[in-house]
Symmetry: C2
Subunit: 341 residues, 2 copies
DNA sequence: CTGAAAGCGCTTACAG
DNA sequence: CTGAAAGCGCTTACAG
């Protein structure tokens, strides 16, 4: 097949009868060019089928037109709506998204560092709060001041702009719901200990319990890791206990599914024998059996918001002294996995 | 913060005491350079902290170092493992992945065309078989002969390399399983009619039924669209029928969940009153209630395979006359949603 | 408002 | 095996 040369800016210039400088201006800053000229250029561009070569523009502008998106686990459906929100915002501004799964494949620190160092990006959105300092202190980041924004999760020991859902409110709503149903024996299954969301949800759960006058039983605060199996594992423990909680709040929906499913295998029914609340409201939650009571987060909006925040940093060449932390409200979705004890 | 200039190839050349041409060679084709020179260059690169500027390389080489990945719906957890497989393969070769959700946001044809035309990619992987011809016949594709490969789905009227799971085998395994359980009243819920997977699975289901001597009841072949709700909708129809199938094979797991969940709301139990088989074996399937019998596909491997296939096309500058279609085996996973009628 | 010219940071035939 | 030089396709101060 014949390799047809793509039209370039010189072709448009020739057809329009102007210089390449004028073509460039007419295309990127139309208002700086006389109307008549502009129209001639646009017509010439259409006629020749001109499409800009981004590598050339980026080289010249010393930008990349791309942002790196760090996702802890692409396999978790929780992220899909967030990704969609980010992508729609970014692409509407002509930026592309380079997705990197921080838990997968060649994606160790090395790999991520490479991405950043090879100047493949104008900025970074991280949905992973466990970014090692080696990354944040690397030349590509610190020295060149590459804007970074966190979404959902955030960095413990760092002061960066971020957007998150209101985790304190989520825990509060869950506990209030259980307590108002009459539960006074309430347990909790956490996500990974090192995860900021786990930490906040756990602490907020304890606080909500105390505020409500419900006893905090440390032996009913179970470890988990956001997986189905960690929920199942707690189910087995629960069944062996003599003194059991009558309701359990889970740090995410998957834990809740694992818990309910494992209990079901042994003939224990939710919510009859145990009330369960999840967190995230992933799609399947409303079609689980029983339909899962859970905490909804504005995932798409969160994605949009974090993208907009980053965009601002990219445009302004950094965030200056105003490090914004935006918190979005959550909602309790009452379904069928909770009832009076 | 001071904008520290990134070291470039001239800096390395100066430190190593050679020309930029030699630095370039030592870095990309080490074997063409004398050992001593090579080592001096490598040392100088390390000393200066040199990282290549990809925009410059790509401009010069007329390549992009990126491939575009077209995904029908990032929100569907089915794709996550496939994405992981693609990404790991591509990134190990130093290529980045530009993910485009074909169903979302600004991602109409226009948007995708833009991606391709702006020469943002060296190749395309599409997990979407409904790519309009306008895209495939666009200048960026046809004239420049951009390599494209399909994964999972494929194009009806086009002859492109592709990797897919064995859908015929999947339908056969499902029907054999139901028939061997003693079912002779078997229904089917399809995905979207225009989808190639739907078409193949439906046709294969009919064929398997015939081969097995089980009557094909057109009124038991339901329309669906791969969503939870389309499964729920069939549940409502099923409940109103006088003459009902005793088993239903669903074109994906989500349809099965919607079906089972809606039946459950009305007190109808699976598999006691209806056996259900899904397709895909997404993570939650084994923790659904009941655990879902389904068809497993080698998703990660499929992702790797499709990426390797594309890589070959990129390296060879096209696929020539050998258009490969690879078919991967599937497996029946028997769990608790199926039983004798 | 427009153009000539320099230059972004690489790579690669070409010559030696 | 190595270097001088051209050039990938744009953008942008500068001058007019």
């Amino acid at each position: 097949m014949e390799q047809e040369a793509a039209p370039k800016i010189t072709d448009v210039a020739r057809v329009a009868g102007v210089s390449t400088a004028t073509v460039s201006r007419a295309l990127s800053k139309p208002e700086t060019v006389a109307k008549q000229t502009r129209e001639a250029v646009l017509a010439a561009a259409a006629e020749t089928g001109y499409r800009i070569n981004l590598a050339a523009r980026n080289l010249r502008r010393r930008s990349t037109g791309a942002i790196v998106l760090l996702v802890p686990n692409l396999g978790n459906p929780f992220f899909s709506q967030i990704l969609a929100g980010i992508e729609s915002t970014l692409s509407s501004r002509g930026l592309s998204t380079l997705m990197v799964d921080t838990k997968h494949s060649g994606s160790g620190d090395e790999f991520i560092l490479d991405y950043l160092h090879h100047s493949r990006a104008d900025g970074i959105i991280s949905l992973d709060g466990s970014l090692p300092p080696s990354i944040l202190n690397s030349p590509g980041m610190a020295a060149e001041n590459l804007p970074i924004v966190f979404g959902c999760e955030w960095l413990q020991n760092g002061h960066y702009p971020s957007v998150r859902a209101n985790n304190e409110q989520g825990a509060l709503l869950a506990i209030e719901h259980l307590a108002s149903l009459g539960h006074s024996n309430i347990g909790y299954i956490n996500g990974p200990d090192e995860n900021v969301l786990s930490q906040v949800r756990k602490a907020s759960t304890k606080r909500a319990l105390k505020d409500r006058g419900v006893p905090v039983r440390e032996d009913w605060f179970f470890a988990g890791d956001f997986t189905l199996e960690s929920g199942a594992s707690v189910a087995r423990k629960w069944m062996k206990m003599e003194d059991r909680p009558s309701a359990i709040f889970c740090a995410n929906d998957e834990i809740a599914f694992g818990l309910i499913s494992e209990l079901h295998q042994s003939g224990i029914r939710v919510p009859d024998q145990l009330s369960v609340i999840g967190y995230d409201d992933i799609d399947i939650a409303k079609r689980y059996i029983p339909a899962l009571t859970t905490i909804w987060q504005p995932r798409f909006e969160l994605g949009q918001t974090v993208a907009e925040l980053l965009l601002k940093g990219v445009t302004d060449g950094g965030f200056g002294d105003t490090i914004q932390v935006k918190t979005l409200p959550v909602r309790l979705i009452i379904r069928q996995s909770t009832s009076a004890p």
